[in-house]
Symmetry: C2
Subunit: 723 residues, 2 copies
């Protein structure tokens, strides 16, 4: 277990560099008074939202932690849970702190040229990337080191004792609780942030652009600051928490599977079936995920430092180079870790794969299949949503026939775009499984996420550049400044697509690994894991669960859309009121009340984020206690399928509508001001909450439900209460 000091060191190092990058970002000039004032508004608004949101989330987290402590009579799990939540929250706060301070500095940098602006923007974004990677890995290493005894080979209770009436495995509970903490923050951050950003965006557009006829990011629009705050809380904090959670979930699910395999794996030894594995094999498998994460963090750190110090003339090339460079580093260092630390082990788990001895290099194949699948899925979403390709061009062309056809075709595009990603996912699952069993599926997720530090840095860079453009506009700087920030921003959009592909792909893999862990945890003995009689596919409870699971993402979508619409409604009323009661705002003689708008959006988003969040947490309990363990297995599997489809559908429909509009704006079919353009604008507006609120929430919804089930699953009865 001493090997844990390696990931701990990597995590701490990444955290230290996050602070260094923050200091470096703050050293750049924040620009003139106006710019500082505007940036100040955004900072204030963002931190007001974060603290309001955090208060609500921590209430929920503390309640769950208390329940965990009382039910399982242990202080370890609540500590792990709260620590996981804290780590995620801290990363968010720190990343947000940097991003909201980098914005004006990027604007200022843009006055000197693209290279300078890029440096500031990437430095600002990298604080989030390095914190996400650093905090999460440090936290997990600490938890495992502090509760080291629980993970020791001899202290993992033997099957007969471990599986009782309500039995649970101590080390599984520790890491799952940590993951649950991170999931809670992620869900609420994604849902709350997603509602905030779209409510602000839609209302600012509707009243500002359409009704009052003032351009985007105009300082006369009372919602304009809220809109900029939204970019930060949605795309920086929300995305950071999301990826952090995926990362933690994939490491944790691999560890959990390794623990179960220690207990229940079937091996042929001297011609006899025996359960369990050797200490060497066990430690190898349990430490491997966190070691891979460790070298991934180090590789990302190197990648970030290299890109942040480049004299970039072309932002796209710089980021692309960073991608390839970091990717190669990750693969190479992962190979080294596998060569040194992984056991040679026949991966014959539940579904007996092959009784022969299998080389450790198969683990590498599993990781590679995850990575490749992530890349292909990203490319596919680019294909469906970029206007360089046929689908979005066709959508733009169809828009000539009017709004209805634009909407219908966009829906068809998104729904049809589920086909290939699912096929790729299916092949990758098979590949990972064939390489290294269920454990292979878990580490395949890790393959996609191991350079999380770099990915989040790039993803957070986008909103920083976006904000910088807003500030340039509001501070009425030279249009050339805005041009530079726009160029930075457009690169951000492309790289964000890659992040999205990885998010969906890794979520599918991590959720699968968690679901298998949950099903294993429902067994009463090692033999039962191999052929679980409690969880049967033909059971009506499994079937009921799977139908309810398939329904949940649809219902959740409806709650999210309504949350956005309701909050936007409140904002619209307020913006209209300000314009009506203060005639000076539109003439530029009066400053609008930005704060009031920020307050309203904050309150609206936070209050409407609770119901969907609580439903996601509560459903496994309700289904589990009413219909038993098998129903929850069905719930998770049904939910997984439905959530993946809605995530792909909403992301791609929304992206295509957005870019079809941009394609028309770039001069096709008459360009701006035509009927075709107005029709495209409607599609874009419909797509906005779909792609930015609904889509990203789906990944977390299914992972949160899976991890809740894993943590609390031992409490559910084997059969429905009335049987």
């Amino acid at each position: 277990m001493n090997a844990l000091y390696l990931p701990l060191t990597a995590g701490v190092l990444s955290t230290i560099f996050a602070f260094i990058m923050l200091a470096r970002t703050l050293k750049f000039s924040p620009g003139n008074k106006t710019m500082q004032k505007l940036s100040g508004y955004v900072q204030e608004g963002a931190s007001a939202f974060l603290s309001e949101e955090a208060r609500k989330i921590f209430l929920v987290a503390v309640l769950i932690a208390a329940a965990l402590g009382i039910i399982f009579q242990s202080f370890k799990y609540p500590i792990a849970l709260l620590f996981g939540a804290l780590v995620s929250e801290l990363a968010g706060v720190m990343g947000m702190y940097a991003a909201t301070r980098a914005n004006a500095r990027v604007t200022q940098g843009a006055t000197k040229g693209l290279s300078e602006a890029f440096k500031v923007a990437f430095s600002g974004g990298s604080v989030m990337g390095l914190s996400v990677a650093g905090f999460s890995l440090t936290g997990l290493s600490i938890i495992m080191l502090v509760f080291k005894d629980s993970f020791l080979y001899n202290n993992i209770t033997e099957i007969s004792q471990a599986f009782g009436k309500i039995s649970f495995l101590d080390p599984v509970m520790i890491v799952s609780s940590y993951s649950l903490g991170a999931s809670l923050i992620a869900l609420f951050d994604r849902v709350g942030g997603g509602m905030y950003t779209k409510a602000a965006d839609m209302s600012a557009d509707l009243v500002g652009k359409v009704e009052a006829g003032i351009p985007e990011d105009d300082p006369r629009n009372p919602a304009t600051i809220a809109d900029n705050v939204g970019d930060n809380v949605g795309d920086v904090a929300g995305l950071g928490a999301d990826i952090l959670e995926s990362y933690v979930a994939s490491v944790v699910s691999a560890i959990v599977l390794a623990i179960f395999m220690k207990l229940a794996d079937k091996q042929m030894i001297n011609g006899q079936v025996q359960y369990g594995m050797s200490p060497e094999q066990y430690y190898g498998l349990i430490l491997l995920p966190i070691l891979i994460a460790g070298v991934g963090v180090l590789s990302s750190l190197v990648g970030v430092l290299v890109v942040a110090n480049m004299k970039a003339k072309d932002a796209r090339k710089a980021l692309g180079f960073g991608n390839v460079f970091t990717g190669i580093l990750v693969l190479a260092s992962t190979a080294i870790v596998i060569g040194i630390a992984a056991p040679d082990y026949a991966f014959k788990d539940t579904f007996i794969l092959n009784p022969e001895f299998v080389s450790r290099w198969r683990l590498f194949l599993a990781i590679a299949s995850g990575l490749i699948a992530g890349l292909i899925i990203s490319k596919l979403s680019e294909y469906y949503t970029s206007y360089d390709y046929k689908p979005t061009q066709d959508l733009a062309e169809k828009t000539k026939s009017g709004v209805a056809i634009n909407i219908t075709s966009g829906l068809a595009l998104g729904m049809g775009s589920t086909f290939w990603p699912v096929i790729v996912l299916a092949i990758a699952i098979l590949g990972a499984y064939w390489s290294a069993g269920v454990y292979g599926i878990a580490i395949a997720a890790l393959g996609m996420l191991s350079f999380v530090g770099y990915i989040v840095s790039v993803d957070s860079y986008g909103p920083v550049a976006d904000n910088a453009g807003g500030i340039a506009q509001m501070a009425e700087l030279d249009p050339k400044v805005r041009e530079i920030t726009d160029r930075l921003d457009s690169v951000g959009n492309t790289t964000a697509a890659i992040g999205k592909g990885f998010a969906i792909g890794s979520a599918a893999f991590a959720a699968l690994a968690l679901i298998v862990s949950y099903i294993w945890s429902a067994a009463h003995s090692a033999e039962e894991i191999v052929n679980n009689p409690v969880i049967n596919l033909v059971s009506p409870y499994t079937i009921i669960g799977s139908i309810i699971g398939a329904m949940l993402p649809f219902f959740f979508t409806s709650l999210l859309i309504r949350g956005v619409a309701d909050t936007a409604d409140l904002m619209i009323t307020e913006i209209r009121r300000q314009f009506r009661e203060h005639k000076g705002i539109l003439t530029g003689e009066e400053t609008p009340d930005y704060k009031r708008c920020i307050e309203i959006t904050t309150k609206g988003a936070v209050s409407r984020m609770l119901l969907p969040g609580i439903i996601a947490i509560a459903t496994p309990f309700v289904v589990g206690f009413l219909f038993g363990k098998a129903a929850v297995a069905g719930l998770l599997l049904g939910g997984l399928g439905s959530a993946i489809m809605i995530a792909l559908f909403t992301a791609n429909s929304g992206g295509a509508w957005d870019n079809a509009k941009k394609y028309i704006e770039s001069g096709h079919f008459g360009g701006k001001g035509t009927d075709v353009h107005s029709a495209a604008v409607v599609g874009d507006t419909v797509g906005d909450p779909l792609k930015d609120t609904v889509g990203p929430s789906m990944d977390i919804l299914i992972k949160l439900m899976s991890v809740v089930s894993l943590v609390f699953g031992s409490l559910f009865p084997d059969k429905p209460f009335f049987m």
Copy 2:
């Protein structure tokens, strides 16, 4: 097995009365020359489409039948399949023949008053209802009587012989093949008819109403006849084939389960576990479904005759009375059948329910739970889509904020509307299961569909009234005539909602029963049925299958929407061409070329129906041969969940958009001609293909895939090909 003569007699009787009702319909006056000519166009167009469509479908059916015969070395299954297809096709042809001749007669009747018009319309519709019930039951009885030997207790091969490497059960194959034949017709009729009707509708509206500014059903519109043909091929033939298929599938799935139970049911006899059941129990269970269907057909016949001979002053009341009257008859006669024919039998099947002796009256409970669930689901769709209730009123209110909000809110409404129906479905599944095991789930579907003859009569009456209105308009009759047909039509819309609820609910039950049958058929021995090791929930193949299954309905939706859009595009070009090249059309001096439009729609819909249809048939094969039996089980379960959600979502979003528009037209928020109204029209257009093409196809998609898997499942390997 001689009891089969009862359902045979009932079926023949219903068929005879279908002919009597047809003769009665034809006796009414067909109106003046113009009306006859218009009706003639519709008749020609409808039969042109039906024969074009039938040619393609029968090609597919013959190919599948040939494969079936060659693979299984038996002439029985291809005969059963083709007979099932033929029966469905004949019912469709006959119903359509009556409906397309009733239309002008209803118009003529409306000149004499509502009571007369109602009588003609209901008589016309009842031909379809009575044929559907009569033909399907007659066909199934004949097949079972002809191949009687296969169903005899002693001829059901014992487990050891029946389950070989590729083993199959002869009687299961016979009835499943019959069901597959009906499914094939249903899928293509629904998909083809759905595309036809919406393509014609959308293009007629877009070019006629919007561009040329002429009213709906105006004889100057070249697409107007195609539009009326569409009502018949979509709502009469499509719906009839759909319900016939549901009906056959639920009877067949119950029979199939009974056959498996004969082989594999576990009973405690004298303290020892024994498999199999007594001849008495076996014959009781195998004949019960078809006997219940038989008395259901007779009850429907009585109900239809009573309503058709009423002097109705209020169409709504007459149909409502018929509903209640027939429902009571069905329940009473079902109770009698159960009392006489059902065995007392402990329903402890795979999921051992209760080792005690269980009364036959539990079967009645199962049927009742299906019936009640169907009623509640129907009421729920009425709640979500009727403008008498809050959801649709809210949607209309939100439309004030513009098109984008109308679309977004409509999507949220539909997705949110999946919640309660799924809960109801889950409770009903549990209720049916708790009452009578898996067999209970199968007969619960029958509970919903046993008065199919009456339901289809009412559902087919709607399009007849709709067509009558069109003819009144085109023949330029007194507006009062149109008023009467409109009143008949609006009643049809309400009753159609009930049909939709039953269609979705019964599809879920029937598909479930088929899926369980499939999973049972994958076992190699009786013991394996109880705990099937081939199909394991945790298997990666099951999981891959379930993700692909969840994707399929989304992909299918996209194909359907595109099919409608493409066919509409062809039509739009043609209508514009006619207006452009023949200036006399719009002035009324020239008759438009109706036939050309009909030809284009026919060709478009038929050619675009093939791909989705073939995908639905081929997917189980592809998944089965590549990934094995377990993957197909996952495919069906994943597909079921996704298909139910999309069916509910599209039906309710589409219905709500439609009625929100009508609510506004009835004078709210400014009424016709306002911006609010135009926004609502867009929502209605978006919803049209969703609710009338996509939604109804979902039910059949999942049932067709299930029955294909059941018929061909024995060929799939246990493990993926590469393992």
